[in-house]
Each structure stands twice: as structure tokens, then as C-alpha cells.
Symmetry: C2
Subunit: 478 residues, 2 copies
């Protein structure tokens, strides 16, 4: 498929839809739309448009579809797999200006928002009303709800509360052909028709542009207890986590950091803790019950002889322990010029084996690639971070080889998934068939065609686009 | 579209796939496949096949697809909207023989089962291991997991624990064209590719035949507290429920019965309680915390001056209170020859208005149609039951009119969904466009075509089939 090109007349028409103050072709603005939180990937759009209404999005898509212009929706650009990069150029659809909170309904425990609302902003709004929106990615100070829906974001609380998918009631979305649809229902249950809502969730902006989101919210827990345990080896840390999960307790966080991660994080967060394999546990709920659960967890953890532990005795201490875990990525970023944060899941019992196999990946690479792993151990969702110097072509090649080993020889053979919460993006397209088989991937491509017959929406992305880009996308865009 | 017809040669070929002991064309067997829990609907299949493996299902579908023979999968036949009735004849695919528990993984909190496993049987198996599968339809002693997945069943515990959709990790399914696919991942998080799992969940056997299910299970709660409050009017009952939900408590059940329902249920269950508008609340979780929540709920409820209350002081008493609610349908069935149990949701705050409007429906019908309502008030999911004599054509017509008023004049104007947990089936196809708009319904039909180009799977059902059948199905089957 050949994409069309923007010319001056078309740009003027598109600018007129959003108003010239919400459109730009200036080099510095295009640069801002050309990268995201992932390194070594940069693709420049030809035009940035910041629509304010679903109606404007519809008119943009109608025109883009007629002229076969690629359109890539973008939230805060915090994605970690190239999910919002305009690989084929065209229009960067900056959704961050649509950021109104549209309506909160306490009895229904629901709220309607525009997609540009930032996660932490939403939670500040809800906290004043006694509620919260549980999904909690480390990027929550910047990540938008629209981006979280498009990527089906997880975060630290997914073990107990589930992921973004579990908290979306309905969506308003614009199809690439310009039609505005509404999916789902503003009620806690609905089984009316195929689940278009969840087909859009996690579709990474390849099926439709989300213009409104109806979310389910939850009552804020009354109390929480946070504790940190540091073990000598991975095995003890994982066994502790498994034993906690098997005890009848459902922690709100059950997090893991390996030795290099703790070393970097504790130094970064100025915490006086020894390096090692850390397990961070949070329980929340009713006071009394939470303290009892924390006590039970403490007994389980102490049975595995940690070399260090700390139990938060105030909300501030709890926050400090959690922030050390949240700081793992920025902390590691100081160690090497380039850091790629990968994202996979395996069944929980396979974590020790996954960790052991990952530790041996650098051996055969022929270039100095460091690996440091942290993640959401309770869900079997780990983030191995590859540390190297991306300016060196040798190291880049070695990193590609390391990725291949990770997904082909570790994740898939252990029965895992190639992405737990970051999405397929540009990084993981090569491994889709490996995980799902050819027929399921072909089915996904046919579904894409139903929504987007001209393949204009976020091309080369998510479901079948090989790596490295630019490359063939879903359904044969070249 | 014209369907093909089974002839003797084809029947012999199909029988050979499953073995003659698992196939039947005997009148008494065909009769068993011709009805389900819904009254006034009966459609006879031409052949019943009970496959034992996905491979057999694949070979059956391959042959049926080649000859355009309709195939309708069936679990226990407990559905309430004609979901498993073979409207176009053809093959009834009885999945109840595939009932093996395939593997439980405590650390991963997951279990794999075949689709014919019965819900209560699964929970008996899990209880011995300290876990449970939360979805809890009133039909749980008979309902199969495959049927629950196909209908995205809810039940009493959905307010706290969600519906079937929220507990499925992966599926093995056979496409109408015979290919076997595997969707999702045996891990608690995965965002790899479009969410085929949730596209199949709730698709009512119209997209694929489910042959294996991977479920997420949860630790059994330590304690529970159950109490029953009976109020004079609907308004007090609903306000009590809303206030409980707004208090920061998330009950595991928050159920409602109106006056006719309590009258029938309490008599049926031989309970010495006054009739009225009942609110049944269950909290579960840690002991101590549960008692405190029950106390808070009690204070809220007493503030609305119930005319009666009972707080269970033993697990047996708790079970007795819950069973009175679960018995509402059989209890009402004794009142009239025909009972149609409808199923809708509205935002919680709209429940009093919905109840008031429903109460006035019989006024203009010109025939004696009784209405009695119970349901899952915490989720805004109500079941108005229409009581009449289906042998009388006059009353049947009046019932059709009542349905129209319910969905067109009550549910949709109040921002609700035409089905919370029973599915579209044959009953609600007429109202799909009203809820979703024409474009979304057309999109659903196009998705159906991607999976089932010859429309052989459960024709006339779920997403676009008008009522009453036989009628045009999705994508134009006649």
C-alpha cells in the first residue's frame, strides 16, 4: 500500500479544522512529536494537529482517509516500545489538549474523561471524593488516560486490582473512516454485543482514535502496610513472593528488584539499604485486617532469612520505599548511555528459571551488554533492562541478538507473553507469530482491515509489524 | 444466505468423527437439544454431536462449513434468551462431555478446564485448595464454564469480583473454518495483540467453539457476613444500596427483591419474613474487617428504617438468606404458567426511576401481565420477570408490547444496557441498534464475517438477530 503525501492545500484544510493555533509544521514542534520514552527510535511527523473535539478528530480522519495520509495518535509519549511514533510520517494527532473531566457519578462509581487527562491528575480529583482509579504505571505523573487505554497499562497494583482493561466501562472513538462510535455501557455490567470496548483497549491506536473514556473507579482503601525484604539470591525472593500469593493474601503490590537494580535505585533514592534481591509488598484495605496481613507476610518473608528488611511505620516511609522501586528505571538510566526496558510475563512458578536464563544472555553476545531486572513479580511480569552504548553499531547488533534470545529462547519456551503491559509497538512485532501462531495473527490483521481499510491509523505498529522499522505493517503497508 | 441440509451420507461422516455413541438423530435426543431455560422457544436440531476433543470439533466444523450446515454449540442449556437454540436446525454441538479439569497452578493462581466443567464442580475442586472462581450465576449447579464464557456470565458477586470476562486468561477455540487457535496468555497480564480472548467472551457461540479455558482464580475469603433488610418501598431500598456503595465498602453481594418477589421467595423458602423491598448484603474478606463492615452497613440500613432485618449469625443462616434470593426465579415460576426473566442495567442512581416506570408498564397492555423484579442492585442490573399465560395469544402479544416498552422507553432512555449478563440471544436482537447505533452494529457484523464467512455458527443469534425468530441473523442469514 502506498501512502499519500501532505501538500500545502491539504495542510491548510487540516489546519482549518483545528484552528491554526492547534496545528504546526514548525521543525521544533515536529521534533517533539518524533520521539517518546524509548531510545534509538525517532520518526518525524509532517504535521501536528491537536484536536479539541471528537467532531474535529472525525473531520481529520475523513480527510486523511480520503488521501491515504498516515495518522498516529499520541498521548504523553511515555510509551516504551515506539507505540506512538509516526513511522510513516503524516499526521501526529496530539490528544493531550482534550483533557476535561466530564462527569463523576459516586453512586455508579464511574467517571467520564477526555483522553488527555493525566493519570495522577485524575487520581487527585478522585481522592477528594474518596475514590481512586487503580492502574498505576510508573509514568503516572505524565501518562494520559487515552494512552493508558490504548496500551492497556498495568503498573504496580495490577495483582489485586487488574489492569486498565478491567476499569473501562465505555469508550467514544472515531474510526479511521470518520464515523464516531460509542462502545460499552455506563453500567457495571453489560453483555450486549461483541466487546468492542476491549477490542479497542490495548490496540495501540491502530483501530480507532479514543475521544472519551468512561471509567469504573473504586473506594480508596482505609489503610495500607508496606514492607521491603532483601534476599541474597533471586530464588529466595521469588519463593517468598509465591508463598505470599499462596497464603490467601492478595497484596496490592508484590514487586521485585534484582541486585543491579537495588544497587542503582537505593543509591539514586539515597536509601541506606544493602543491595540484593528485593521484594516490596503493599497490602491495602481495612485497618486491622491490613496489619494482620502484614504480620503474616512478615512471618513468611523472615522464614526465608532476608539479609535486610524494613517495615514502613508511617505513610511517608511507605511512600519512600515505593518510590525506590518506581525510581528503578531513571536510576538505571544513569549507568549506561542507552537503556532498553523490555517487558514480558511468564507463569509465576517459572520466574526463577526466567531470571537464570536472562542472567546468562550477555555471555554469548560478543559485546558488553548489561542486564538488570525488576518488575511485578506477583503477576509474573518482569522488566529486564538492557544497558549499553547505542552509539556503537556493534553493541546495537548485540542488543538485537539479546532481544531475540530473550523472546525466542526464554519467554516463549517458558509459556509466557512477549508483553505484559508495554504493548507490541515497534519493538516486538517480530515475535507475535511465535506467541500466537500464524492463524491468530492473520485474524488480527483481518480485524484491523475491518476497522481501517486503508491502513492509515498508526501504521507499522502493534500487531504484525517486524522490527527494526521502517518495515511492513499490518496488512501489508510498505 | 441459503443453508445446506444434512443428508444420510453427511450424517454418517459426522457420526464417524465422534463415534456413534456420541451422536444421535433419535427424536427424544433431538427434543433435549431443542429447548433451554427460556419458555415459548423451541427449535429442533437435526443431529446432536458430543465431541471429546478440539480435533473432533475442528473436523466437524470443517465439514459443516463446506456444506453450509448450521452448528449451534450448547453447554447445559441454562441460558435465558434462546442463546443455545438451533434456530436454523443443523447440528447441536453438545459440549458437556468435554469436562476434564486439566491443570491447577496455585502459584500462578490459574486453572485450565474443558468447557463442559460445571461451575459448582469447579468451585468444589478449588475450595479444597483454598481458592474459588468468583462468577456465581444462580444456575451454577448446572451452568458449564464454556457457556459462562460464551455468555460472559455475571451473578451475585460481580459487584466486588467482576464477571466471567475478568477471570479468563486464555482460550483454545475452533474457528468455523476448522482452524484451532489459542488466544491470550497463561499469565496474569498480557497486552500482546488484539484482545481475541475478550472478543470471544460474550459472543454467544457465534464466532468460535471454545474447547479449553484458562481461568484466573482467587484465594477463598476468610470470613463473610450476610444480612437482610426489608423496606416498605423501592426508594428506601435503593437509597440504602447507594449509601452502602458510597461508604467505601465494596460488598461481595448487594441484591434486591421487590415486594412480589419477596412474597414468592419467602413462601417458597419457608422463611418467616414480611414481604417488602429486600436488600441482601454480603461482605467477605478478613475476619474482623468483615464484622466492622457489616456493622457500618447495619447503621446505614437502620437509618432508612427497615420494617424487618436479619443478620446471619452462622454460615448456615447466611446460606439460608442467600438461597431465598437465589430461589426468586423458581419461586415466581409457581405463580404463572409462563415467566420471562428479562435482564438490563442502568446507572445505579437511575434504579428508582427504572423501577417506577416498570411498575406502570402493565397499565396500557390490555392483558393481565404481572411484573416482579429482583436483581443485582449494586451493579444496576435488574431482572424484571414478566408473568403471564403463554398459551393465550392475546397475552403473548401483550408481553411483546411490554418488552418493547421496557427496552425502548425505560432502559435506553435511562442510559442503560439491554442485557447485563444473559446475553442478546434471540430475545434482544431488535434492540441492539437502539443501544449501540447502526455503525457499531454494522462493525459487529463485519467482525462476525471475519470469523465465520459462511455464517454457520449459531445463526440468527446474539448480534443483530431480530425477535421473534426465525429471522434475519447477523450478516443476512434468512
Amino acid at each position: 500500500m502506498e501512502y499519500g503525501r501532505l501538500n500545502e492545500r491539504l495542510i491548510a484544510e487540516l489546519e482549518a479544522i483545528v484552528g491554526s493555533e492547534n496545528a504546526s509544521t514548525r521543525a521544533e514542534d515536529l521534533l517533539c512529536g518524533s520521539y517518546e520514552a524509548v531510545p534509538l527510535m525517532e520518526y518525524k511527523p509532517d504535521l501536528i494537529l491537536a484536536p479539541r473535539t471528537a467532531e474535529q478528530v472525525s473531520r481529520i480522519l475523513l480527510l486523511a482517509n480520503r488521501h491515504r495520509i498516515p495518522v498516529t495518535p499520541r498521548g504523553a509519549g511515555t510509551s516504551l516500545a515506539g507505540n506512538s511514533l509516526p513511522v510513516a510520517g503524516g499526521i501526529c494527532l496530539d490528544m493531550s489538549s482534550m483533557k476535561a473531566v466530564l462527569g463523576f457519578d459516586g453512586a455508579n462509581q464511574s467517571i467520564a474523561v477526555e483522553p488527555g487527562v493525566v493519570c495522577d491528575t485524575l487520581n487527585d480529583y478522585l481522592a477528594g471524593r474518596g475514590f481512586f482509579f487503580p492502574p498505576d504505571p510508573a509514568s503516572s505523573p505524565a501518562a494520559t488516560i487515552g494512552g493508558m487505554v490504548a496500551n492497556n497499562s498495568g503498573g504496580n497494583r495490577a495483582l489485586k486490582y487488574g489492569v486498565t482493561r478491567d476499569h473501562v466501562l465505555w469508550l467514544e472513538a472515531v474510526l479511521p473512516t470518520g464515523e464516531i462510535i460509542r462502545t460499552g455501557s455506563n453500567t457495571l455490567k453489560s453483555v450486549s454485543g461483541y466487546d468492542l470496548t476491549r477490542l479497542l483497549i490495548g490496540s495501540e491506536g491502530t483501530l480507532a482514535v479514543i475521544t472519551k473514556v468512561g471509567l469504573k473507579v473504586m473506594p480508596l482503601p482505609e489503610a495500607r502496610a508496606v514492607s521491603l525484604y532483601i534476599f541474597e539470591g533471586v530464588e529466595e525472593a521469588v519463593r517468598t513472593a509465591v508463598e505470599i500469593k499462596s497464603s490467601g493474601i492478595l497484596p496490592s503490590m508484590l514487586e521485585f528488584m534484582d541486585e543491579p537494580s537495588t544497587r542503582a535505585s537505593f543509591e539514586y533514592a539515597k536509601m541506606d539499604c544493602p543491595e540484593g534481591c528485593a521484594v516490596l509488598v503493599e497490602c491495602d484495605g481495612r485497618s486491622g485486617a491490613v496489619e494482620r496481613e502484614a504480620e503474616l507476610i512478615h512471618r513468611i518473608a523472615m522464614g526465608r532469612r532476608p539479609k535486610f528488611f524494613e517495615r514502613a511505620s508511617s505513610p511517608e516511609e511507605a511512600e519512600r520505599l515505593i518510590s525506590a522501586r518506581k525510581a528503578a528505571l531513571p536510576a538505571l538510566s544513569r549507568i549506561a548511555p542507552t537503556i532498553f526496558m523490555e517487558d514480558f510475563t511468564v507463569p509465576v512458578a517459572k520466574i526463577p528459571e526466567a531470571c537464570a536464563r536472562i542472567a546468562s544472555i550477555p555471555d554469548g553476545l560478543g559485546a558488553p551488554i548489561g542486564i538488570s531486572t525488576f518488575g511485578h513479580i506477583g503477576e509474573g511480569n518482569l522488566h529486564p533492562n538492557f544497558l549499553f552504548d547505542g552509539r556503537d553499531p556493534e553493541q546495537r547488533r548485540a542488543f538485537r541478538k539479546a532481544l531475540d534470545i530473550l523472546y525466542r529462547d526464554v519467554v516463549i519456551p517458558l509459556g509466557g507473553s512477549i508483553t505484559g503491559e508495554h504493548g507490541v509497538g515497534l519493538s516486538r512485532g517480530d515475535y507475535m507469530e511465535l506467541e500466537h501462531g500464524g492463524k491468530a495473527v492473520r485474524l488480527m490483521r483481518e480485524l484491523k482491515r475491518v476497522f481501517d481499510p486503508n491502513m492509515i491509523l498508526n501504521p507499522y505498529k502493534a500487531k504484525g509489524g517486524p522490527w527494526p522499522p521502517p518495515l511492513r505493517g499490518i496488512g501489508g503497508a510498505h
